[in-house]
């Protein structure tokens, strides 16, 4: 044990001193890859500050002067401001509701003792394989009859439901991992089943809540098809829909469209930069389990 401890830093020190040719090759490869990831985003960012003329006369130079006119125009004329707010409302509501309802069902499956638990699990899991496209038409006609099309509630309901399978699946795993003694103990102290759920099981499964919350939020934030079908009123559109409508073949002012793209992705990029490690690990953990 002792020898390995002292050997490790030595080896590290030696490796820092000179990189082997293979390592240099690997780094060159990775840097090349990362350029393909960063350069397109930087190009859009750069162009969004230019005027339409500049885009064609000097495509790769830096903009002559920095103005935010393009951004403010896209923000108001493209309804991106209201769209961001709508997206936020819909996603937060769907997130909160699906987490509560989903983890309640997961608790019922993982912890309560009844015969149908396994069957219920299978029933919910089939939802993961169903593509959203198949239910689009019946849902749309039904919601139109109920007056739910063109309303944010009409978006929240399907978003929340499509988030349920993954939430239930992941949370069931976490609830099953809680030791029986803890629940027994709480029971002896006189806690009822809801106290056990809210005070003991939920706080112990924080990691699971984080992972499922992240997955559902990111998924719903970027969802385009359902929102596009259900919402036709400009004031109710979500971010991906407003963006797709604003940036299209009928618009000829390129720099404003580029500004709109930047507005749409910059919040995600900022959040990602701050919490990137947590987000990547959380989403991967969710995908592994799913």
């Amino acid at each position: 044990m002792k020898s390995s401890k002292s050997a490790a830093p030595e080896r590290e020190f030696a490796s820092k001193k000179k990189l082997s040719p293979i390592q240099i090759l690997l780094y060159a490869f990775l840097i090349l890859i990362c350029i393909t990831y960063i350069f397109p985003l930087l190009w859009v960012f750069n162009v969004s500050f230019k005027t339409n003329k500049e885009i064609f006369s000097a495509p790769f130079a830096l903009p002559e002067k920095i103005t935010f006119d393009n951004f403010s125009f896209a923000w108001t004329a493209g309804h991106l401001g209201t769209a961001t707010l709508n997206s936020f409302i819909v996603c937060v509501a769907a997130l909160v509701l699906s987490t509560i309802i989903g983890s309640m069902a997961a608790f019922g499956i993982a912890r309560m003792r009844w015969k149908g638990a396994k069957l219920a699990m299978t029933y919910f899991l089939t939802g993961m394989m169903i593509p959203i496209h198949c239910v689009l038409i019946p849902l749309f006609t039904r919601f139109a009859k109920m007056g739910l099309s063109n309303s944010l509630i009409g978006l929240i309901i399907p978003y929340l439901t499509f988030s349920l399978p993954i939430t239930i699946f992941i949370m069931t795993g976490f609830f099953k991992g809680i030791p029986n003694e803890l629940i027994e103990c709480a029971c002896m102290e006189g806690a009822n089943i809801f106290q056990i759920f809210f005070r003991i099981c939920l706080p112990l499964s924080r990691t699971g809540l984080f992972v499922t919350g992240l997955m559902t939020f990111v998924g719903n934030w970027n969802e385009l098809l359902l929102a596009m079908v259900f919402i036709s009123d400009d004031a109710k559109k979500t971010l991906p829909v407003s963006l797709s409508k604003f940036v299209g073949p009928y618009n000829t002012n390129y720099s404003q469209m580029f500004a709109a793209i930047i507005i749409a992705i910059i919040p995600t990029i900022i959040v990602y930069c701050v919490f990137s490690n947590k987000i990547v690990d959380g989403l991967t953990a969710g995908a592994v389990k799913g």
Partner: protein
């Protein structure tokens, strides 16, 4: 305690909200959708049962043929390319000494961005007068390719472009899945193989690859279902054009259902999509056998 956990009323309270939502919003619509696919249903009037006519029409529909072909191309391309590229990235990233997190996070970034926005971004990059073509003109290329407007070939150029953009966007996820699995392999196994005289490449072939096989099945079925559902990028890059050459099942469904309001016909496309999703999942789980090793 047993009594409390068997209490029918509290079980009901826990299960009912999810059950009702799931049934009303997901399960009943699926059944309805299957029913509509056997109906003449144009939106204004009530659905009328017409048997298999919608499916017969699908067979003679040229655009459906293109959409099916493109979806299949997409499915195969994304499964194969994501497997290979994802594995290469994962292998490279696990073998570098510093800066692993930085590279990993950069490659993963597009996975969390809106594919609608990224689709628009790539649409501009590959548009005839902007982006890549400006770069090519600067380098002296007099007749740069039309990229997304090209219509020649069995699998047209736009499809390849879109497929590569999709690979660019989602390969981070496959990479992360493989990396998670590789980092779970016991180090002593690797060391044992080095002592037995294996090179790094050999170790990767005979130790790492067999041990990450279960993850290959997971990642592949995620890719497969994702590529069948694929909509956002295509819709924003080409809208299925030029001349329906880049139509996939999802965009065709959207066009038929919500541009021409042929609900019955679009439901039939939806049923085809659903069946494909189920078949592909079953197929992958059968073929890529998930042998469990002691790790």
């Amino acid at each position: 305690m047993d009594k409390m956990l068997r209490n029918k009323k509290s079980i009901l309270v826990f299960m009912l909200p999810a059950f009702i939502l799931f049934t009303l919003v997901l399960f009943i619509p699926i059944v309805q959708s299957v029913y509509y696919s056997f109906c003449e249903y144009k939106g204004m009037t009530a659905p009328v049962f017409i048997g298999l006519d919608n499916y017969k029409a699908l067979i003679s529909d040229k655009t459906f043929g293109i959409a099916l072909k493109n979806s299949m191309f997409f499915l195969i391309f994304s499964c194969v390319s994501q497997l290979i590229i994802g594995l290469i990235y994962a292998a490279v990233l696990t073998n570098i000494k510093a800066g692993r997190n930085l590279f990993k996070n950069i490659i993963y970034l597009p996975c969390v961005l809106s594919s609608a926005a990224l689709g628009l971004m790539w649409m501009f990059i590959f548009s005839p007068k902007l982006g890549i073509n400006q770069l090519l003109e600067k380098m002296g290329d007099k007749e740069p390719p039309l990229w997304l407007m090209d219509t020649k070939g069995y699998i047209t150029l736009p499809m390849w472009v879109i497929a590569f953009v999709a690979l660019w966007q989602y390969v981070g996820q496959s990479m992360m899945l493989y990396m998670a699995q590789i980092s779970g392999i016991n180090k002593s196994l690797m060391e044992a193989s080095y002592i037995d005289g294996c090179t790094k490449v050999k170790t990767f072939r005979y130790i790492t690859l067999p041990l990450i096989k279960p993850m290959v099945a997971t990642a592949m079925s995620l890719n497969a279902i994702g590529s069948l559902k694929f909509f956002d990028l295509i819709f924003n890059m080409t809208e299925g054009g030029p001349n329906h050459k880049t139509e996939v099942l999802a965009t065709h469904l959207y066009q038929q259902g919500f541009k021409y309001f042929k609900y019955g016909y679009a439901s039939a496309i939806g049923v085809v999509l659903l069946v494909l999703c189920l078949l592909v999942t079953l197929f992958i789980n059968k073929v890529v056998k998930t042998e469990q090793y002691e790790m």
